[in-house]
């Protein structure tokens, strides 16, 4: 490993593994973070970064490997223990208490006390304001956490972690939802923490941030450690080839498809506080990418189009026919299929069998007079599971026991079984292994080649750029630009995803 100086490592993980049932989430994780440094951890979705973070945080207990903090072996059984040992973690998904005030969220469990062990609210609010001014944000410390934007929620998480005064600060994609100005402020804080001698671990998908902020970078792939390098001695393309392990062009096998008539047309879609005046068209055989920051309203637009959520005004038409709002069944009848972002909560019924999941949408058509038996479902579901090569020993196996990639195949099988004309797919490869990932990409490309219209939402820029024929960029709920394949460069997309914010402030 490349040592930057003589500083002692604060955190050392070596050969750490973690499995959940048959699913190996982390095969062999290693990292060594020195004090007074910012260490980047990069890797594709499903490379095991978040699992590694959760082992450090005490959310999960490792199955094997060494884990040392300040040179002493540790074994955290809960987040309380890791906190007490001086580890602060910002998780990917904010974990706030919506009913409580912003300040209470920051100081829960360690509020400043006045005489008689009662909470010193004035001191607490003053401290919260001090934190917010250090981060350069305007959030009222007394307002409830409920209803905060994703970016503000992320800011609260950061404030929470900073206030812990930790030796080691781990940030799992803290910038995913932040605008340029907010990212700059966060980086300033991160650098000042580093200069105080703390150790920071920074996970990000954005290379410009890694090269801007970090001193060292560790690459992970498929649950394993790949390499650690000094940021000064490496380049983005080096990192990409380390992350992917093969050539990038091979990764996105884009098949040229004949683009046909418009299938989905959305006009002037509005929902107060979420998205505004969204227009979009997806044609047969076309893959349209919907890009933007987390919280920009991409998934919300997709949910509204599919009828899971309501919208205030606007129209959704499929092949010229208006689709009833707020009625997923009408959307399904119109030929829409929707593979949502959160597989475990929305994409499938995780505690139900493969059969039940694959047959979930088509069961109304395979039933006779509304009656259905398990055998009928098995007959209908088996071939579809087979076509997608779902790895399972039997059709009655629980979806919860499968790997993320296999679960995604079950979801895709469920929707392809309905023979759709439009496929909306939100984060198609989140949390799935590299092998399955390219399978999914190839499948999407082939489906488009057969004339399916595809609307794809993705936070991974290479995925959007590699797959989409056209890219729409959302920012704060508005479409800020539309780029065709030739125009779509990382810079153009990132600019459109953030410029709206800058203009507004």
């Amino acid at each position: 490993m490349a040592a930057s100086n003589t500083a002692a490592p604060v955190l050392v993980l070596h050969d750490v593994s973690k499995s959940f049932g048959p699913v190996v989430a982390l095969r062999s994780g290693s990292i060594s973070v020195e004090e007074g440094s910012i260490h980047a951890l990069v890797g594709e979705n499903g490379a095991g970064k978040s699992t590694l973070v959760k082992v450090v945080a005490g959310v999960h207990r490792r199955d094997a490997g060494t884990f040392e903090l300040d040179g002493r072996p540790v074994d955290f059984g809960s987040t309380a223990e890791s906190k007490a040992a001086g580890v602060a973690v910002i998780y990917q998904e904010p974990t706030l208490f919506p009913d409580l005030s912003v300040t209470e969220n920051i100081f829960m469990g360690r509020q400043p006390l006045a005489r008689g062990r009662r909470i010193d609210r004035p001191a607490m609010h003053a401290e919260a304001e001090r934190l917010f001014s250090r981060l350069g944000v305007k959030i009222d410390p007394r307002r409830p956490a409920e209803g905060l934007s994703i970016a503000d929620q992320q800011i609260i998480e950061i404030a929470k972690a900073i206030s812990l005064d930790a030796r080691l600060l781990v940030m799992d994609e803290p910038t995913a939802a932040l605008s340029g100005v907010e990212v700059d402020r966060l980086f300033a804080v991160a650098r000042s923490l580093r200069d105080e001698g703390r150790a920071l671990v920074f996970i990000s998908h954005r290379f410009d941030e890694v090269f801007d902020l970090c001193d060292t970078v560790t690459v992970m792939r498929d649950g394993s450690y790949v390499d650690t390098r000094r940021v000064a001695d490496t380049t983005p393309s080096d990192l990409v080839s380390l992350m992917v392990g093969r050539d990038v062009d091979e990764l996105f096998p884009k098949v040229a498809a004949e683009i046909g008539e418009p299938v989905l047309e959305v006009r002037g879609l509005n929902r107060a506080g979420v998205f505004h005046d969204v227009d979009l068209v997806v044609r047969a055989g076309e893959i349209v990418g919907l890009a933007g920051l987390v919280g920009a309203g991409r998934s919300e637009v997709a949910r509204a189009v599919f009828g899971v959520d309501a919208y205030d005004s606007g129209t959704v038409t499929m092949s010229g026919r208006k689709v009833r709002p707020r009625d997923p069944r009408a959307a399904i009848r119109a030929g829409m299929a929707f593979i949502p972002e959160d597989r475990r909560k929305q994409g499938l019924v995780i505690d139900a069998s493969v059969t039940r999941n694959v047959a979930a949408v088509i069961r109304r058509s395979i039933a006779r007079a509304g009656l259905i038996t398990g055998a009928m479902e098995n007959r209908a579901a088996g071939p579809w599971a087979g076509r997608l090569e779902v790895k399972t020993s039997a059709l009655d196996m629980n979806a919860a026991t499968m790997s993320g990639g296999n679960q995604q195949k079950v979801v895709i099988a469920k929707w392809l079984a309905t023979n759709p004309r439009l496929l909306i797919i939100d984060e198609p490869t989140r949390g799935i292994d590299v092998g399955t990932k390219s399978e999914v990409h190839r499948l999407l490309s082939e489906l488009a080649g057969q004339g399916l219209a595809i609307l794809m939402i993705s936070s991974e820029l290479p995925e959007v750029l590699g797959m989409a024929d056209r890219v729409l960029v959302l920012c704060e709920g508005r479409v800020t630009t539309e780029l065709d394949r030739a125009e779509a460069t990382p810079e153009a997309v990132m600019h459109a995803a953030t410029h709206h914010l800058e203009d507004a402030r």
Binding site: G347, A360, V361, A375, A394, T401
Partner: protein, 356 residues
């Protein structure tokens, strides 16, 4: 990966375990075996348990609970709960009495009482399914409301002048057998509910809502309508149980069947339905109701007071939910020992392995 129009490259076994094992190693089987064991023990050791009247009274006693347990099972599988069922029973009982007193024939009065039950269910269903209020709070409210209307209508008086022909019908048996007549409508309803829950697309939706209502919505299940239908069914069946209760005892009172809601829920949970929703089967629930009925009947014949029955039912209920957790924990501590015994009610595989 092949294209979706190509032939499948893989085929699968439908089930991971043979039929006998799937049948044997289930929560429902455990309840049925326990029920059979208690019946056999009682036949051998409890005087008069095999007497001619025991079976008749036992079935008559548990008939209202059997009836209401049918819709209650479906409701709890969706993850909701209906605490107002006993109050609907009371209300339909009072309406039957009051309307009959006002000169209506029993069938007309019963029909109106059933409609009232439907209306009660509609109120619950509307507030829960369409307004989106928590069912626990709503049905605590309607528990008080429906009971309040029942008591308000009749006060502390009772109406007892029901025609003998109808009372005989409620207490009669099928031919010369010991099976009460009420078991006929119950059997019809039971078959209907089994088909609805286990062999219909509607029933598949019920399970999906209970396991994950968001995913259900994403696959086009009409969550609100499903819940509405279930609360309507619960209202009607509860009203039916109330009518039976009234005719059987020949007395319409505002406080009839007070506290039955907890008995029904206890039986449903004992029968293997998860309070979180998504798990449970009707045969297990019916066995649970019979188990409670047999225990109280046997203890009564042994002149043990009703208190002990309460304790046993309560302990069974706690044990039935705690046991999977305890076994799961023990299983994680001693993997080999715990899996060596396949006969007992096993810890829920799903909850034990769901993680990540």
């Amino acid at each position: 990966m092949s294209t979706p129009t190509a032939t499948p490259t893989r085929t699968y076994a439908a089930y991971s375990a043979p039929l006998w094992r799937r049948l044997l190693v289930s929560r429902e089987t455990a309840v049925i075996v326990l029920t059979a064991a208690v019946i056999l023990y009682s036949l051998a050791n409890v005087p008069n348990f095999d007497g001619p009247l025991t079976l008749k009274f036992l079935l008559q006693d548990i008939a209202p609970i059997l009836l209401i347990a049918l819709p209650m099972t479906l409701i709890i599988i969706t993850g909701e709960i209906d605490l107002s069922v006993a109050s609907i029973m009371g209300l339909s009982s009072v309406l039957l009495g009051v309307l009959h007193d006002a000169g209506m024939s029993i069938p007309t009065a019963a029909l109106l009482a059933l409609l009232a039950g439907l209306a009660c269910g509609a109120l619950n269903g509307f507030l829960i399914a369409y307004v989106g209020l928590p069912s626990l709070a709503v049905t605590i409210g309607t528990l008080a409301l429906f009971r309040g209307i029942a008591v308000g209508l009749l006060g502390t008086t009772a109406i007892t002048d029901f025609p003998d022909s109808w009372s005989d019908l409620a207490t009669g048996t099928i031919g010369e057998s010991r099976i009460p007549l009420v078991m006929i409508p119950f059997a019809v309803l039971a078959v209907g509910f089994v088909v609805l829950l286990h062999f219909s697309t509607f029933g598949r939706g019920i399970y999906e809502i209970g396991l994950n209502d968001e995913a259900a919505r994403f696959t086009g299940v009409d969550v609100a309508r499903t819940k509405m239908v279930l609360f309507l069914l619960s209202g009607v069946v509860s009203a039916l149980a109330g009518i039976y209760f009234t005719l059987r005892y020949g007395s319409a009172r505002g406080d009839n069947a007070t506290g039955y809601e907890l008995q029904v829920i206890a039986a449903v949970l004992l029968g293997g339905v998860s309070i979180f929703g998504g798990r449970g089967r009707l045969h297990g629930v019916l066995a649970g109701v019979v188990l409670i009925g047999v225990i109280s009947s046997a203890l009564r014949l042994e002149s043990v007071t009703v208190n002990v029955t309460n304790i046993i039912v309560g302990l069974l209920l706690v044990a039935s939910v705690i046991l999977p957790s305890v076994l799961g924990w023990a299983g994680s501590q001693l993997p080999r020992k715990a899996s060596a015994d396949p006969s007992g009610p096993r810890p829920d595989k799903d909850t034990a392995t769901a993680g990540v």
